[in-house]
């Protein structure tokens, strides 16, 4: 018996060592971002580097929130307005996706839509399509339509990227709900729309949460489209502003780290809050992300 018990214990040790390694790999870099954001730049430059910061400061956060004056305050002053833009755009896109995407998903899951296979295939095709190939066209079209540098334009562009995902996720989700449920609602005197709104949607909470949270995350994190389409001051979202700060030499890394951490927090918290639904929804719809 003894050698086997010994081997078991050795196995356990190996497993926990590997786990510690994986955990460090997953969270370490993000934690380090936080550590740098509450450090003074001079302590980051010190050699040898102290991994536990000798001084902790929230000066960097005060700077980017405009509470303390410093040399790059003009740059930093863009953070809060662009964060507001990010919130508006992400929420608008999420709402459109939830209304249009779920209804379309429901239609695909339940009805014989004309050209169903073809249009589903087209949706799948758009997922394989590089979004950057569309950006030059959007650039010129939005210029012609006067949508350049507007949040409306950004919402429109994001909807075109996110709707195919939402439709696929919701279609997969509705297919897990028994069709008998709609049928009994129809027998009870609902019309199709009522059956959808009163009976099917209320039991689709997890699917809606998954689709909505995923859409919000994509929009919140998107960088290239916002960078290209909304170049005018005050019209862009958070990621381009932070990237712009990063490109400037005279801004301390600790300040940039603070703004990066601040911008990452909403998405991370959202994903962690809804992780159960998201993992289910995403592995069902198996989305690229």
């Amino acid at each position: 018996m003894r050698p086997i018990a010994l081997k078991r214990r050795a196995n356990r040790t190996v497993v926990y060592a590997l786990l510690a390694l994986v955990a460090l790999w997953l969270v370490g870099p993000f934690l380090w971002l936080f550590v740098t954001s509450v450090s003074y730049q001079r302590n980051l430059l010190a050699r040898p580097l102290a991994f536990i910061p000798p001084e902790i400061t929230f000066d960097n956060y005060r700077r980017i929130l405009g509470l303390v004056r410093f040399h790059a305050e003009l740059q930093a002053a863009k953070i809060l307005p662009s964060m507001l833009n990010s919130v508006i755009v992400a929420i608008a896109v999420t709402i459109v996706n939830l209304i249009v995407g779920t209804t379309a998903g429901y239609a695909y899951a339940r009805f014989r839509v004309p050209l169903k296979m073809l249009s589903l295939f087209a949706l799948l095709f758009t997922r394989m399509l590089p979004t950057i190939v569309l950006i030059p066209a959007y650039f010129l079209l939005f210029k012609a339509l006067g949508l350049q540098n507007t949040l409306t334009g950004l919402v429109l562009a994001y909807c075109s990227f996110t709707l195919p995902f939402t439709i696929w996720i919701m279609k997969a989700y509705f297919e897990t709900i028994p069709a008998d449920l709609d049928k009994s609602a129809l027998v009870d005197g609902c019309n199709r729309l009522q059956a959808y709104y009163r009976v099917v949607l209320p039991v689709s909470g997890p699917g809606l949460v998954a689709g909505g949270a995923f859409t919000f995350m994509l929009c919140w994190n998107e960088f290239i489209v916002a960078q290209v389409l909304n170049t005018k001051l005050g019209t862009t979202t958070l990621p381009p502003v932070i990237a712009g700060m990063n490109a400037q030499i005279n801004i301390d890394y600790s300040v940039i780290a603070a703004s990066g951490f601040l911008s990452a927090l909403p998405a991370v918290l959202l994903v962690l809050a809804f992780q159960k639904y998201m993992v289910q929804g995403l592995t069902a719809g198996s989305v690229k992300g």
Binding site: Y16, V22, L49, I132, V133, A137, A144, W220, T283, G289
Partner: protein, 291 residues
């Protein structure tokens, strides 16, 4: 559906048209399409000229082979690390739900933030990795990981992998949960060790998901752009310029929309071709397996 046609198919056709045209953004005259009072410039048709110049351009071919290396390395790393993490997390241990939450952190970060935090680790002046290696006495002075082209390219691969592999792990874990326990028990009764169970039970069952990861990470690898923007801007020189960056640069830094869209279209075609090839291979495999 109509809306989708409008917001995807039309821009798609329009940028395809641009790839065949001599786009001059400064000129306001010239042929144009009038639609509901909106003037959409059509530019001068130049046929295959954009593509011909492109294919004769050594810069493009450099970017092409670099992209091939990037995608290859990225797909391998993502699959191996994703599978490795899945195998570790599949074990039974305390705090398993917590570990699965941690998986979502790298994946839910914006690529801008991913780039930033790796700058914090790799930077030549304040990077934590440099600090660690220096402390351990492995290096005499701080190393600049992004200075030489090849190492910068590999850094990009690994950073992108850090961001994407957890998603592969999630998919694999979901797949592993659907493997019936009896298979493992039977294998154990037959005397199979850990590696044999992995080889003959786990991996065959995960074939579909592994294929999916292959396709998705190939496409994502081809399209990766934001990390290049944050970390290297295609440099040093052109040594981290992939096709997607070349196209982006040509279109939006030099404002040459014609050649830019042509480059991006070659990328699109590559992605679609590879997806089709993958499909073919896997279907043949599956048929062979059934016979």
């Amino acid at each position: 559906m109509l809306v989708i046609c409008l917001v995807i198919v039309f821009p798609l056709a329009y940028s395809l048209w641009m790839s065949f045209a001599d786009v001059n953004l400064l000129r306001a005259t010239g042929p144009a399409l009038e639609l509901f009072g909106v003037r959409i410039p059509l530019f001068r048709y130049v046929g295959l000229q954009n593509y011909a110049r492109l294919l004769a351009d050594p810069l493009y071919w450099d970017a092409f082979w670099r992209t091939a290396y990037f995608v290859g390395a990225f797909v391998c790393e993502t699959t191996v690390v994703g599978l490795g993490m899945a195998l570790v997390l599949q074990e039974r241990f305390l705090g398993r739900p917590l570990m699965r939450s941690l998986l979502l952190i790298p994946w839910s970060l914006s690529r801008v933030v991913v780039g930033l935090l790796w700058i914090g680790i790799l930077d030549v002046e304040f990077g934590a990795l440099n600090g660690l290696l220096y402390k351990a006495g492995l290096i005499e002075s701080y190393v600049s990981f992004l200075k030489s082209g090849f190492s910068a390219l590999n850094v990009l691969v690994s950073v992108y992998m850090w961001n994407q592999a957890p998603f592969a792990t999630l998919l694999l874990l979901a797949g592993m949960q659907s493997i019936p326990m009896e298979l493992y028990m039977a294998a154990e009764v037959d005397g199979a060790g850990y590696w044999q169970r992995l080889r003959y039970v786990t991996l065959p069952a995960l074939r579909g998901i592994l294929f999916l990861i292959l396709v998705v990470s190939t496409v994502n690898g081809f399209l990766m752009l934001d990390l290049i923007y944050i970390l290297t801007m295609g440099g040093p020189g052109n040594e981290t310029t992939t096709i997607s960056w070349l196209g982006f640069q040509t279109a939006f830094q030099f404002f040459k929309f014609g050649p830019g869209t042509a480059i991006l279209y070659t990328l699109t075609v590559l992605c679609l071709l590879l997806t089709v090839v993958y499909h073919k291979i896997v279907f043949r495999r599956l048929e062979a397996a059934e016979l």
